[in-house]
């Protein structure tokens, strides 16, 4: 198969899957008595219709890029890690709790300390799943998800218990971060610097995988672990480093959610961003650069969800249904890989075109 066909398929198959999922979703809401055309129109208007919704979309896409990396990087090393939500919560918790232990300097150095703490916490959380897989033989898909549930409970325990700000009555929160540490908007827009972090992390990850020896070695381990150990690559270490990098990205997403959006750790951080990141990464076929547009598209659907709820009275879970359809179809589309050949399509198209021409 040549490179052109491969690239063409890599773009076409996920697109077809997303179109198919939108059709299925339309059918689903139509069965529930809504107008499918209205729903489709609102999905796109709510996501990309005007400057306000576009900014909202980008706001939601930023953390998705980072949580998707938490799936993509271990995936390139051969692991299916789906506990990015846990790393995100640990990152958020670390960001909010550093000031309890030690007062970081004001301004951006303080922010840098907070974000570093978030990334470290996330890295440690996913590295644990990688370690258990490599050294103890524990399936990383199950362990990372179990760790995510543990993280939710640890998060709630600390936020509602020892770290609780006594003045947060209705919604238990930690103490709010100092204003000088907060991550501001870019220029005069609503979009904060987290977007730059997300895009930057995706580009850095792509460069690491394609341009560095270490990234190449990681891909060899992911492609064939036996071959990798035969040529003497330190497979265990490479896998765990990939898990650390992915976990650091998700942890950073948690830190940014605190520093740019919520200013303190509370239940609003538990929004399933880690789980949507899984879908983003699979749809991007675990390619860091492809994660950027996919995160924007799926972040857009998520942003449009509140519009569907307000304007058409659909339940808030409707976006979840749409994303579920997308996920199932994206995976099914893999079955068509290598079967859709450009030549076949042309051969199929040209006789019918000739027949049409002949009839005319």
């Amino acid at each position: 198969m040549n490179a052109f066909t491969e690239a063409w398929e890599a773009l076409l198959l996920p697109l077809l899957a997303i179109v198919g999922a939108l059709l299925l979703f339309g059918l689903f809401v139509a069965l529930a008595g809504h107008n499918a055309l209205d729903v489709w129109a609102l999905l796109f208007m709510g996501a990309f219709g005007d400057a306000f919704s576009l900014q909202n979309t980008l706001l939601r896409a930023a953390p998705l890029m980072l949580t998707a990396l938490c799936v993509a990087l271990p995936a390139r090393a051969g692991l299916t890690v789906i506990g990015g939500e846990g790393a995100l919560l640990m990152g958020a918790l670390a960001c909010a709790s550093v000031p309890y232990l030690w007062q970081p300097p004001a301004g951006w150095p303080g922010l840098a300390v907070l974000l570093a703490a978030s990334a470290l916490a996330g890295a440690a959380w996913i590295a644990l799943a990688g370690y258990l897989r490599q050294y103890r033989g524990v399936n990383e898909t199950i362990s990372s998800l179990l760790l995510a549930y543990v993280a939710v409970n640890v998060f709630k325990h600390l936020v509602e218990g020892p770290l609780r700000d006594p003045s947060s009555l209705n919604k238990p929160s930690t103490l709010a971060l100092d204003d000088s540490w907060l991550m501001g908007p870019i220029g005069g827009y609503d979009v904060h610097w987290g977007l730059v972090w997300g895009v930057g992390a995706c580009i850095a990850a792509a460069l690491w995988l394609s341009r560095t020896t270490h990234g190449f070695a990681t891909r060899v381990v992911g492609g064939n672990a036996r071959a990798a150990s035969l040529v003497g690559l330190p497979a265990h270490r490479l896998v765990i480093v990939a898990c650390c990098l992915g976990g650091a990205a998700a942890g950073l997403a948690g830190g940014i959610e605190i520093a740019a959006v919520h200013t303190a750790a509370n239940a609003s951080v538990i929004a399933g961003l880690g789980y949507t990141g899984i879908l983003v990464s699979f749809a991007a076929r675990h390619h860091p650069l492809a994660i950027i547009p996919v995160a924007i598209l799926l972040g857009g659907f998520a942003a449009a969800g509140s519009m569907l709820q307000r304007r058409l009275g659909l339940p808030d879970a409707s976006v979840q249904v749409l994303l579920g359809f997308v996920f199932v179809l994206i995976l099914c589309a893999e079955a068509a890989r290598g079967r859709l050949r450009w030549q076949d399509l042309r051969a199929w198209w040209s006789p019918s075109a000739q027949a049409l021409a002949g009839r005319a």
Binding site: G137, L146, H157, L279
Partner: protein, 307 residues
């Protein structure tokens, strides 16, 4: 300080909880056991659990009969698992990834369709009073047993017997242990796997019905948080033996009941940490049972997760 009575009532609450909380674990792990014996893993049983809980509750509410609800739970669980079975039969489709997708789709569908069911009360399942011989009211209430639980116990023994002694059981195990051997005998590997996954979904659906129709006995979006997934890990712990699944489910039911039991005697500060106990326990058990150097004893050879 805790006195003897308090400790006794905590232990009793854990015993009662082992059965009450353990019943969903039992059904999901039996369903997963059947699926995995045929050589597939279905992580989507978490989604199956949620959607079957929702449909069981919905049908019980609309029809007024809890047992019709149980049937609906099994049916909807089977349908979602059938989707997993068919999709995973496609070429190049990974069953673990598809399981994650089915988990998300199932939870989304259940939350969407279950929105109007959050308020109402539906008829729930009755219980069996196994504590009739005792004078202690506490023991009596602890032994009020979910009427689905005996079905689960019977099913565990039935499955154990069927895997060893029936044609169907042997076919399922053959497909799970060597797809080449199965093909050589003219058995349809994907057919058997799809059927086993579907039947596993129906069994797991009974667990969902137990959640929404017995304990906690209502429908809301926080009904299941990873019980379906824990059950998948339980099957590894039980070494793919249905009767061992029963023991594992009771153990985890007890662990899950620890938090509420301590809360009822006034220990409340660590509520969330006690909630985390079943997950940590699962992890610890996985660490203790798995090994990177050998395939687990009893693991179906075609299965990716046992290695």
């Amino acid at each position: 300080m805790m006195d003897i009575d308090t400790i006794g009532s905590v232990l009793l609450a854990i015993l009662a909880g082992a059965i009450r909380v353990g019943t969903p674990f039992l059904f999901v792990s039996l369903g997963e056991c059947l699926t995995e014996k045929a050589g597939r893993i279905n992580l989507g049983l978490e989604g199956v659990l949620v959607i079957s809980a929702m449909s069981a509750f919905g049908v019980s509410y609309l029809s007024g009969s809890a047992w019709l609800g149980v049937l609906a739970g099994a049916g909807s669980g089977a349908l979602l698992a059938l989707l997993h079975g068919l999709a995973s039969s496609l070429r190049r489709v990974n069953d673990i990834a598809m399981g994650i997708a089915i988990m998300m789709l199932g939870v989304g569908l259940a939350f969407y369709l279950g929105k109007p069911l959050i308020q109402p009360q539906a008829p729930t399942l009755g219980s069996w009073s196994l504590g009739f011989w005792s004078d202690s009211p506490q023991l009596r209430s602890a032994l009020e047993v979910n009427s689905l639980f005996p079905i689960g116990v019977a099913l565990a023994f039935l499955m154990s017997w069927a895997f060893a002694n029936t044609r169907w059981g042997l076919v399922v195990r053959m497909v799970g242990d060597s797809s080449d051997a199965a093909r050589a005998l003219g058995t349809s590997v994907t057919g058997v796997r799809t059927l086993a996954t579907t039947a596993g979904g129906a069994i797991a659906g009974l667990g969902g019905a137990s959640l929404s129709l017995y304990y906690p006995g209502s429908w809301n979006e926080g009904l299941s948080s990873g019980q379906g997934l824990i059950a998948v890990a339980l099957v590894i712990f039980a070494r793919w033996r249905p009767v061992a699944c029963l023991g594992a489910a009771l153990l985890f039911g007890g662990a899950g009941a620890l938090g509420p039991a301590l809360q009822s005697v006034g220990i409340t500060g660590y509520y969330y940490l006690f909630n985390a106990v079943p997950y940590v326990l699962t992890l610890v058990i996985l660490v203790l049972t798995c090994s990177p150097h050998r395939v687990l004893r009893g693991a179906p050879s075609e299965l990716g997760v046992g290695r």
